[in-house]
C-alpha cells in the first residue's frame, strides 16, 4: 500500500504563470511587498514585532465573523485589526506589560474566530484560507484596494518619515524635541493594521510574521541606512512572494509554504553574513 503522495513537476507551468489568476497574484505580490517592506522596518525598530503577529490573529474573528454575515473577509479582518491596533497602542508602554496584554487578547481572539467559523459552513470553508492565505484567489477588486492602500501608506510615510523614525529609535529624546510620540504610535499601529489586512490575504494569519517582520529583519542586518533597509525589505518580500508563486506553479506545493520558506532562508543567510562581520 503506497501513500497517496502527489508530488510531481508540472510541465505546463509556463501556462499556469500566465493564467489570469496568476497575473493577479503576481501584481498582488508587488503591492503587498511595498506595504510590508516599508512598515516592516518600523515594526522592527519600534520592537512591535509581536504586535504585528498578534494583529493578524486578532483579525481572525473579524474575518470569520464577516463570512458569517456575508460581508467581505478583508472588511472584517481590517476592522478587527484596526481595533486591535488602536487598543494595543493605547496599552501600557512597558514592553512586558504590553506582551502579556497582547498575547492574552491574541489567544482570546483566536478562540472567538474558531467559534464564529463553526457557526456556519461557509465560514468553516474559509477558515483554511484565512489561516494560511490564498494568494491565488485574489480578485481585481482586491488589487484595486491594495493599490489604493499602498498609495495612502506611502504618502503618510513620506509626510511622517522623520518624526516616525525619530520616535522609533529614541522615543524619549524625540518627545523632548517636540515629536508627538503618542500620535506617532497611533499612526504607526493604524498603518500596521492596514498592512496586516492586505498581507494576510497572501500568507494567512498564521504565517504573517514571515512576510512583515522577517524580510525587514534580514534587510536590517545588511543595509546601512533605514531607507536602504526598507528598500531591501521590499525586495526580499517580492522575491519571496514571486518565488513562491513560481515554485508552486511548477510543483504541487501551496504558495504560502514556499513564500515563508524563501523568506526564512534569506533571513538565515543575512544573519550568517551579519554575524561574520562582527
Amino acid at each position: 500500500m503506497t501513500a497517496d503522495l502527489k508530488f510531481a513537476f508540472d510541465p505546463g507551468w509556463q501556462e499556469v504563470l500566465t493564467a489570469p489568476f496568476m497575473v493577479n497574484a503576481l501584481i498582488a505580490g508587488v503591492l503587498i511587498s511595498v506595504a510590508a517592506g516599508f512598515i516592516g522596518y518600523f515594526t522592527v525598530a519600534r520592537r512591535s514585532t509581536f504586535a504585528a503577529h498578534a494583529l493578524a490573529h486578532i483579525g481572525l474573528p473579524g474575518a470569520t465573523g464577516a463570512v458569517l454575515f456575508g460581508l467581505p473577509v478583508s472588511l472584517g479582518l481590517g476592522l478587527f485589526a484596526l481595533g486591535g491596533a488602536l487598543t494595543i497602542g493605547a496599552l501600557g508602554k512597558k514592553a512586558s506589560q504590553r506582551e502579556i496584554a497582547t498575547g492574552t487578547i491574541l489567544a482570546f481572539a483566536m478562540g472567538v474566530g474558531l467559534f464564529f467559523s463553526r457557526l456556519s459552513s461557509s465560514a468553516a470553508e474559509q477558515m483554511q484560507s484565512i489561516l494560511f492565505g490564498s494568494i491565488l484567489t485574489i480578485t481585481q477588486g482586491q488589487l484595486l484596494g491594495f493599490a489604493i492602500f499602498d498609495i495612502v501608506l506611502l504618502i503618510v510615510l513620506a509626510v511622517t518619515y522623520r518624526p516616525l523614525l525619530f520616535s522609533s529609535v529614541d522615543e524619549q529624546v524625540a518627545q523632548a524635541k517636540g515629536v508627538p510620540v503618542a500620535v506617532m504610535n497611533v499612526v504607526f499601529m493604524a498603518m500596521l493594521a492596514g498592512v496586516i489586512t492586505i498581507s494576510v490575504q497572501a500568507v494567512g494569519t498564521l504565517l504573517i510574521f514571515a512576510l512583515v517582520v522577517t524580510p525587514a529583519a534580514a534587510a536590517n542586518g545588511i543595509a546601512r541606512s533605514p531607507f536602504r533597509a526598507m528598500i531591501g525589505a521590499v525586495v526580499i518580500c517580492l522575491v519571496s512572494i514571486w518565488g513562491g508563486l513560481l515554485v508552486s506553479s511548477m510543483f504541487p506545493t501551496p504558495p504560502s509554504f514556499v513564500i515563508v520558506t524563501i523568506s526564512t532562508l534569506i533571513w538565515a543567510v543575512a544573519r550568517a553574513i551579519e554575524s561574520r562581520k562582527h
Partner: protein, 325 residues
C-alpha cells in the same frame, strides 16, 4: 579625545554675561504622580553658564526634575521657567541625553544619521539635508569626540560610544542648555574622565549651561559650579562650596559622608569609616582591591588613574570614594 589635565578643567565657568536671565527658575514648584507628591516647594534659580549636578537618593525625583524642565510633565503647583520662557516652549534650545541611551538598538541607523535626527527629526514632510545641516552634524560629532565614527552603526558601538552619539545628537542644534541623566553610570573610569573633559570644554568654550543627574559627584567636582540637591522632598540649589559639607551630604545620602580636601586642593566625597554606625554593611574597598576590579585593561586603569592626578595622591578618590554606594 584630547586628554586634558584636571587642573585645566577646574577653570571657572564663563563669567556671567550682561543677560542675566537664569537658565532655570523654579517658584514654589511641586510635582506629583498618581496622587503621590514626589517633591514640593522648589524655589531656586540657576545662573547661566553654570555646570550643575542634580543629586539625591534613588527615587528622590532627579529625572523627574529634568522632565519638568523639558515640559514633558506638568507641575502640580507653582511655575518653572527655562531660559526665561515657560518649560516646554523652548525645547529646541535644550539638548537632552536620557539615561536609556545605552539600551539595545535594533535599528541600523548610523552615528551620523542619529545625530541628524537631533536636527531634523521633528520635521514633518519632505526635506533634503542641506550642506549646512551636514556641517552641523559633523561639528557635533567632533565636539563629542567621535568624528571618526560617523559612519558606524549604533548597533556596532559600545555603550560609551553610543553615549557620545547621544551627546552629539543633543549638541547638533546648538543648545544653550544641556541636560544629561546619569551620564557616568555605565562608563569605565577612562570613559568618565573623557566625558567630564567634553562637558568642561562645552562649558568653558561655548558658555553652555549644563545640568547632570549624578549619583556620585566625585568625578564631576572639578567642573561643578553648583548643585541641586533633593532633600526631604524639596529641591534646593546651592553653589558647590556650600554643598561640599559633610553634614549636608550625610543627610542627603542617608549615610555618613565626609568631604576630604587634599593638599593639592582636590576635593572628594567618601563614606566616613570611623563614624559609620556599627552593623551597617559597608561597601568599602582598599585601593588595592579597587584597582583589581580594573585589572582587565591594566594599562587603561593606570592611565585614567594618573590622569585623575592620583599619582601624587596615594589614596585616590577613585579607589576608595567611588564605592560609596
Amino acid at each position: 579625545m584630547t586628554t586634558q589635565h584636571p587642573s585645566a578643567a577646574t577653570t571657572p565657568a564663563t563669567p556671567p554675561t550682561s543677560d542675566d536671565t537664569p537658565i532655570v527658575e523654579f517658584s514654589d514648584a511641586s510635582v506629583s504622580r498618581g496622587g503621590h507628591t514626589i517633591w514640593s516647594h522648589g524655589n531656586f534659580s540657576i545662573p547661566k553658564g553654570t555646570v550643575t549636578a542634580i543629586v539625591g537618593t534613588n527615587g528622590a525625583g532627579k529625572t523627574t526634575l529634568l522632565t519638568i524642565e523639558l515640559g514633558l510633565l506638568p507641575l502640580s503647583h507653582g511655575h518653572v521657567r527655562v531660559l526665561g520662557k515657560p518649560a516646554g516652549s523652548i525645547n529646541d534650545r535644550i539638548g537632552y541625553v536620557p539615561q536609556s541611551y545605552a539600551s539595545d538598538i535594533d535599528s541600523n541607523i548610523t552615528a551620523e544619521q542619529s545625530v541628524g535626527l537631533g536636527l531634523t527629526g521633528a520635521r514633518f514632510g519632505f526635506h533634503r539635508q542641506s550642506a549646512q545641516d551636514k556641517q552641523k552634524i559633523s561639528d557635533a560629532l567632533g565636539m563629542a569626540g567621535i568624528a571618526d565614527k560617523a559612519s558606524l552603526r549604533l548597533s556596532e558601538m559600545s555603550g560609551g560610544m553610543r553615549q557620545r552619539v547621544a551627546i552629539a545628537q543633543a549638541l547638533v542644534a546648538d543648545p544653550d542648555l544641556l541636560l544629561l541623566d546619569e551620564p557616568l553610570a555605565n562608563l569605565d573610569l577612562a570613559g568618565q574622565r573623557g566625558l567630564v573633559d567634553v562637558l568642561s570644554q562645552l562649558n568653558s568654550t561655548f558658555g553652555m549651561s549644563i545640568q547632570v543627574v549624578a549619583h556620585d559627584i566625585n568625578m564631576l567636582l572639578p567642573i561643578l559650579t553648583g548643585a541641586v540637591y533633593l532633600l526631604d522632598g524639596h529641591p534646593h540649589y546651592s553653589p558647590i562650596a556650600n554643598v561640599m559639607d559633610s553634614k549636608l551630604l550625610t543627610h542627603l545620602y542617608g549615610t555618613k559622608v565626609e568631604v576630604i580636601k587634599t593638599p593639592q586642593g582636590d576635593m572628594f566625597v567618601r563614606p566616613d569609616q570611623e563614624e559609620e554606625p556599627a552593623g551597617r554593611r559597608q561597601h568599602l574597598h582598599t585601593p588595592k582591591e579597587a584597582a583589581s576590579f580594573h585589572a582587565e585593561p591594566k594599562g587603561a586603569a593606570e592611565r585614567s588613574a594618573s590622569a585623575a592626578g592620583a599619582t601624587e595622591n596615594p589614596e585616590s578618590p577613585e579607589s576608595s570614594g567611588r564605592q560609596a554606594h
